[in-house]
């Protein structure tokens, strides 16, 4: 595995291709003209608020739903007409799916391994996922984190070229969530392409090479996490003690300043790197000393809110 995850030409190496995907339920558009490509070896995120159409999009990739229009290809094959072939190269962890309550971890793994011609060694997966101590445990007795690790193992047991992980860490405590993230990085290190559906910014920012932001069924943006943050209307926030003698009108006049406001005894100016430079120059010109000056980067959260307009709803 080279350090560069986008090996070769992404257009030729696309593991998963979605072009102009539309899906409506009873006249309500759930997925509206979504297109993206996932390169082999990539961790590709689909990020969006609840109900944005993320799960429906990946269900079309998994062949669980037939698109109304548009094309979906996994390894060059249509997941609906070539369902069997696609299931052999695409492992899936579904949102809110369960197993038989009294099925043990070992039985689940042996059963799923029997579904594939060349399964992975499930013992190896169990060791990697820290499930050895739970082989005899029944599914119903597992913790949320153990269940998710088992689902990851089941998604990988067929030696797939790609896996879809849908809301993998929802409901997990922060520690289990972080453990799961390193597992996802391990999966990619093992050469498997990952399509990750999430509504956690931190998860997307930490794991994904590229992110498609989906909002109300439409593709709102598709970029690297840093690229998305750069798209936020304000990528920098300057804040300082409010009693500093500076004219708000002057602050508003700074280049690229988006907003100026005072809250909790601090004045905040939202803008870009240029705003920061102009602010420093202004201070020097006025000979003003500011107290408690802080300059912070916007996060993916800010970018997300800008892109989806989620705060305006």
């Amino acid at each position: 595995m080279s350090g560069n995850h986008l090996r070769g030409d992404a257009r030729c190496m696309a593991m998963i291709e979605v072009q102009g995907l539309h899906k409506a339920y009873g006249g309500r558009k759930v997925v509206d003209d979504v297109s993206f490509e996932v390169a082999e070896g990539e961790i590709f995120g689909i990020l969006g608020p609840n109900g944005a159409g993320k799960t429906t999009t990946v269900e079309c990739v998994e062949g669980l739903r037939t698109p109304d229009s548009g094309t979906v290809r996994v390894g060059g094959l249509d997941p609906v007409t070539r369902h069997d072939d696609v299931t052999r190269m695409l492992g899936a962890q579904l949102q809110e799916s369960e197993l038989q309550t009294k099925l043990t971890v070992r039985e689940a793994l042996e059963l799923h391994a029997s579904f594939y011609e060349r399964p992975a060694d499930w013992r190896g997966l169990v060791a990697r996922l820290g499930l050895e101590a739970h082989l005899k445990a029944r599914f119903g007795k597992l913790s949320g984190g153990q269940k998710q690790r088992l689902f990851i193992a089941l998604a990988l047991v067929g030696n797939p070229r790609a896996v879809v992980l849908d809301e993998l860490t929802t409901g997990l405590d922060p520690r289990a969530r972080r453990d799961t993230w390193s597992l996802v990085e391990d999966i990619r290190a093992g050469g498997v392409t990952v399509l990750l559906v999430t509504h956690f910014m931190e998860e997307a920012q930490r794991l994904c090479d590229r992110i498609a932001v989906i909002d109300r069924g439409r593709l709102a943006a598709l970029d690297t996490p840093d690229g998305l943050i750069g798209r936020a209307t304000a990528s920098k926030v300057i804040s300082f003690a409010a009693h500093t003698p500076l004219d708000p009108a002057e602050l508003r006049a700074l280049p690229h300043a988006v907003s100026v406001g005072t809250r909790d005894g601090r004045t905040a100016v939202e803008g870009t790197d240029e705003t920061v430079n102009a602010f420093v120059a202004l201070l020097a010109r006025r000979g003003v000393t500011v107290q408690q000056l802080r300059v912070t980067d916007a996060t993916l959260d800010d970018a997300f809110l800008d892109l989806t307009g989620a705060d305006q709803r």
Partner: protein, 260 residues
């Protein structure tokens, strides 16, 4: 992927996956003692309790010289079929759908239908095993004669099992959730118990009522089993009715079953 070696491997792989599904579901089946009791043991318990009543072991002129316990062997057999097909199976299948187990399986190379098939096979086996137990205990404990027309009896029993499972599958298909499946199963349970003759054996019902009851799946089954027990051929009318019910109920299940 079309080399002979690969296709050979595929031929070896697919039965083994099906076998593994059946084996796994059989293990899970064995882990439900409550359900097993109702399917496998309770019909025989019913027969034994009735057999302990002295007057039920005496020949009655009203029943053409037969004893009540003689009539209750086929009734208990039908009770076993109702327990497995209508009480036990629908909640299991509906639960598999509701909990995303069928959906999960759709993302693997094995079709979720194999899971449903395994469950149907297991419930059929439980119904047949329970029937054999009822007939054996009836013979050993109460001297109930074995069916005189064995081939006819087996044919009628197999059709009745198919009919009962088709009824359960239809209940499952028409119920959106596991709770609804259990509730609908209970509602359908009482009329089927009645038509199977659990309260009044079909043969002891008034003529008009009996004629109507014998049009229902379990009424027809009761008539067929009764004829075969006394040495006759089950009769093409009840056999045909059971076959017709099986086809209609299976078609209903297939038409309305939702995978999610």
């Amino acid at each position: 992927m079309s080399s002979p070696a690969t296709s050979g491997a595929e031929m070896l792989t697919s039965p083994s996956a099906t076998t593994m599904v059946l084996r796994t579901e059989a293990r899970l089946f064995a882990r439900e003692p409550g359900s097993l009791f109702w399917m496998m043991v309770s019909p025989t318990v019913l027969l034994v309790i009735l057999g302990l009543i002295p007057s039920f072991r005496e020949a009655s002129a009203d029943l053409g010289g037969r004893r009540v316990i003689d009539l209750y062997v086929p009734v208990s057999v039908l009770f076993a079929l109702i327990m497995s097909g209508l009480q036990a199976m629908p909640p299991v299948l509906a639960g598999y759908r509701e909990r995303g187990i069928l959906r999960r399986m759709s993302t693997t190379p094995v079709r979720p239908a194999s899971l449903l098939t395994a469950q149907i096979v297991l419930h059929a086996a439980a119904a047949l095993g329970s029937s054999v137990l009822v007939v054996t205990v009836g013979r050993l404990a109460f001297g109930v004669l074995l069916p005189e027309n064995l081939a006819g009896y087996v044919l009628a029993l197999l059709l009745a099992v198919a009919c009962g499972l088709a009824l359960g599958a239809a209940v499952c298909a028409l119920s959106r959730t596991q709770k609804i499946a259990t509730a609908v199963g209970s509602v359908v349970f009482f009329p089927t118990m009645f038509t199977a003759g659990v309260w009044v054996p079909v043969q002891a019902m008034p003529d008009t009522l009996r004629d109507i009851v014998q049009l229902t799946p379990y009424g027809a089954a009761s008539q067929a089993l009764d004829s075969a027990t006394s040495g006759g051929w089950p009769g093409w009318v009840p056999l045909g009715l059971m076959a017709l019910w099986t086809v209609v109920l299976t078609a209903t299940a297939a038409r309305w079953f939702r995978w999610e």
